[in-house]
Symmetry: none
Subunit: 209 residues, 2 copies
Amino acid sequence: MTYKTSILLADDHLLFISGLSTLLAEEQNNYDIFVAHDGNMVLQMVSDQQPDIILLDIGMPGIGGMEVLKYMNRVYPAIKIIMLSSYNDAHLIEKARRAGASGYLLKNCSIEELQRAIADVMEGKLSFPPIVHLPEHNAYTNPIAQQFNLTKREIEIIQLIKEELTNKQIADKLFLSLFTVETHRKNIMHKLKLNSAVSLMKFILDFKL
Amino acid sequence: MTYKTSILLADDHLLFISGLSTLLAEEQNNYDIFVAHDGNMVLQMVSDQQPDIILLDIGMPGIGGMEVLKYMNRVYPAIKIIMLSSYNDAHLIEKARRAGASGYLLKNCSIEELQRAIADVMEGKLSFPPIVHLPEHNAYTNPIAQQFNLTKREIEIIQLIKEELTNKQIADKLFLSLFTVETHRKNIMHKLKLNSAVSLMKFILDFKL
DNA sequence: GGTGAATTACCACCTTGTTGGTATCTTATA
DNA sequence: TATAAGATACCAACAAGGTGGTAATTCACC
């Protein structure tokens, strides 16, 4: 009999782990699947079953995935951990890597990618998404900003408004006249069809400018 | 041959819908399963397949679940929609109900609950979680609000400030003197250690008051 | 019944932002 | 090179909010 890779699925969404365990159990590669739906249960299952790999939801309630990861890494360094997350966030990925994860998978990956990652990790490799320097959604490429025809300077000023600077402070920072900043602000307000500094702040935060 | 209930699974997490469709396909009750992983694909699949039921993730990126729900309800009123969500949030549940959903399921429900909900909805019933009046995290019980010793009235006024009302408008709405509102605002600013209306708005949004 | 917190109300002075103008200079581009 | 868009700068009148006061009334709670 061939060796079965034992996998612990840890995610608080029952539907997700039921589905995923069915899916994995169906595959010809044999897996032993265990499930846990909160941090405490993970700790329990790990000490009971000593799985090879844990697929660990990063966003579990209570003891979160990151905390479990750090704990596991300290107490069971032999167990490989692949973080599961909804977010393709370079920052999160880095955090997981530094905390000792063996991999990071997006929940919208395919089953093939999942199997590939499991296989890689079992061979001792790491499995992280390539650091894609996507056209990052900074303020300048923000679709909202484009939609409202905001200019570079206007967006720059919006960034400072977001930092709660007054027109005077912005003028000093950018070596501009107070009048100039007022003019820019006036134009911004027109373009966004707003009529108060407070509304502007709400707009900026709501639309993540 | 018995009639198969056709179900469209709409969720951006491929692993989730792969798993769930396997799980549902395995069940003795026969389902026809289709999947979609974004809002546009949902619209496409619905017009192609005319499913009986849509299991619709409330948090899809791009065109969100709520928007799809509203659209479906208008254009295909015969199709029943069960919202899938991670959040047991009375407010969200109410929103879904009012927008015409036939049900609301938590992603951490069991497969049995899912089947029960599908069956109920096919019979024309509604399937919503019991309205549990949990200690709701409204503005009044918000830990931040408590930490800063904000009074009921102050929180009430903060809610209106968040709606971009001016002091005058708040005074009219609450049948108070403008001076009174100014006083409340002054006290709020002191308690939060802020010094401008703009900073206050940022604080309110950042801390989700 | 007294105390303190909460709510209400007022005033004067100041700072900040809003609005609707005008006007010059630069820069990208057709 | 002509034109348009962008950035810069100024002004005046006005609106909104910020600050530091005072003070009366209500209401919960000891």
